[in-house]
Symmetry: C2
Subunit: 163 residues, 2 copies
DNA sequence: TCGTGTTATATATCAAGTTATCGATATGCG
DNA sequence: CGCATATCGATAACTTGATATATAACACGA
């Protein structure tokens, strides 16, 4: 069965990148499921942003993640519900709400940085190893490699190799 | 403001590709809006699949587009509502529902192939021109180029250049 | 100081993907 | 033939992005 998106090349590059991104996120989710936290892979960038940049108001968080503000508002509400972030009004501007990692959030991020993120990074780096040349060719190679060996298996191998 | 997804590199490649794909789709939408059809850019791959492969049952359509079957069911319902596709039960298997371009759908696809798709393809090709080297670098270049000159402007230029 | 305009966030709604599940039709074996 | 199983597509519920708009707080000029 012909892969139409692939055949159409540049014309549907947006749909194609979205499709690859979704698959990567889904595969990553399977690796992250080893942590007992019931948290979606898409929430980790927000936690990582707070880890890297420290407490931030909602708007700047959105900007640093490259997504629209309502998405951040919703994610923050979810993570606050789970007790992973805290939200405090800014002292000098009552409109701003400063988001920061809670004690549990800090613990989760530290654990992830130690135990999980390196495997994921290695797995994705392995997936993209030795890629070169035109973009469309690299994307096709990624799709083919993912189909041959899913990401979570690459993560396992990386773990074994590291141990 | 630091772009966290970019800083995280391979770790958040999925989120990042999804983000780029969404931006490309949104930009493409602006080009497509010149056609009077009120149809989202994400519907065009389905129409293009029917154009390339001819009438197909729902399941094979999903497979050729690389998305899950319920997504196709919904898109087909939408496009049928708009009168762009027709759905007929298969004669030899009552479970299969064969999707095909309607007269209007055929006309829209022909028009798009003539008037719009070439500009989009050129614009995206222009966006990705001369890219080489590692994937992450190419993605960063795409993001930078998109920020500098949005896709719809590249499509205009391509049109002018072609005329 | 009061009103006007701006900014920060929240809320509502939409889009398009996902998984899980159900009902209906085929298929195939005893 | 009849029943168990498999397959196809529809539906429901959820996720995560978007845009548009409402609300609340700030800032500034008359």
């Amino acid at each position: 069965m012909e892969d139409v998106l692939r055949s159409l090349g540049f014309l549907c590059l947006g749909s194609r990148m979205k499709r690859i991104g979704e698959q990567l996120q889904a595969d990553t989710q399977r690796v992250l499921d080893r942590l007992d936290m019931r948290i979606q892979s898409s929430q980790y960038p927000l936690l990582a942003a707070l880890d890297r940049l420290g407490p931030l108001p909602v708007g700047e968080l959105a900007q640093s993640l490259g997504i629209a503000q309502p998405g951040v508002t919703r994610s923050v509400a979810l993570l606050a519900e789970l007790g992973l972030v805290e939200v405090n009004p800014s002292q000098d501007d009552q409109r701003r709400r400063i988001v920061s990692l809670s004690r549990n959030g800090r613990r989760l991020v530290d654990q992830a940085k130690r135990e999980i993120w390196p495997s994921i990074e290695n797995a994705v780096a392995d997936l993209c190893a030795d890629l070169s040349g035109p973009l469309l060719g690299q994307l096709a190679a990624i799709e083919d490699r993912l189909a041959a060996t899913p990401l979570y298996r690459r993560a396992e191998n990386a773990k074994v190799a590291a141990s």
